[in-house]
Amino acid sequence: MNSSSPKTDRRTGLSRVTLFASVLVVLGAVLAVSVDMVFLLVFGAGVFGPGALREVGVLNDQDEFQREASRAAGYRAYLAAGLFVSVWLAVAQRGTANLDSELAMAVSMILILLIVVWLLSALFGYWDAKKATSGILLAFGSFWLLFVVLSHMAEPGMLFMEALVVVPFFGLAWTVHRWPRATGAALVLFGLFVFFAFDLYEAFQSRMNAWPVILTMFLPLMACGLALLGGGSVEGDEPPQ
């Protein structure tokens, strides 16, 4: 908590940050619809910038009540966005069993992003970095194993080869408890390897099928690695069971 009151205007009750962000929102929206949609970046900076800076600890302009209100609002926004996207996809894609348009694919990425970020935040918020990372790696490995077994039940050779992929996941899930920072570094390097080995940077050049890998593989690996390297809760007390 701040040692002094958050700076707010006496008459409007708005902070300087909120006022500045409001200017960006209006400016961005006006420029986007009158000049070029690229100015949505300015709009986005106004809407999401202050919150993002607060989450990473750069901005500390709110008191605890304001933070709680913001977080409750954020959770409701998450639920509303998730439900809206689910319903939209179900209605737009009814009658098919795939995402047959670029728009449907893009919208589904929003759904995956919401779920992945929520899941990671919930795990890191409830557990410490070690236990959360261990759980995520074990889940990765288990899902992969299940997928391989179901796919290659009749091909023992192929099943064995593809099942070997789980070894690093289970291995890192074990090492994270003994050498958390070294495991964190390994996860970051592994994440970067995946990013470049699978050309995931092409996601920004209209290669839509790279996005699922980025969101479900690269993002969790980097989040776990950076959390372990950050070490905020690496050496903590026994976490809640």
């Binding site: 908590m1 701040n2 040692s3 002094s4 009151s5 958050p6 707010t8 009750g13 008191d63 605890e64 009540f65 304001q66 709680e68």
Partner: protein
Amino acid sequence: MGLTGQVLNHLRRYRLQADGMTQGGLADRVGVTRQTIHSIEKGKYKPTVELALRLARELGVAVEDLFELDDQEESS
């Protein structure tokens, strides 16, 4: 497990006893907004332990004087 009991608070009474301190004045002293003090007094917001301790220290009372569990709510 969820704690759903009510917490009664006497912040307004002790604030006014402290030379009629305003909500804004108390807010400035403990480092929050006036709206936060207002919401605590209305029972809309339960402060953190840190803020409760700051409020008690600023008003010169014990935390237990400012906040108490609603026993009637608990027993029902």
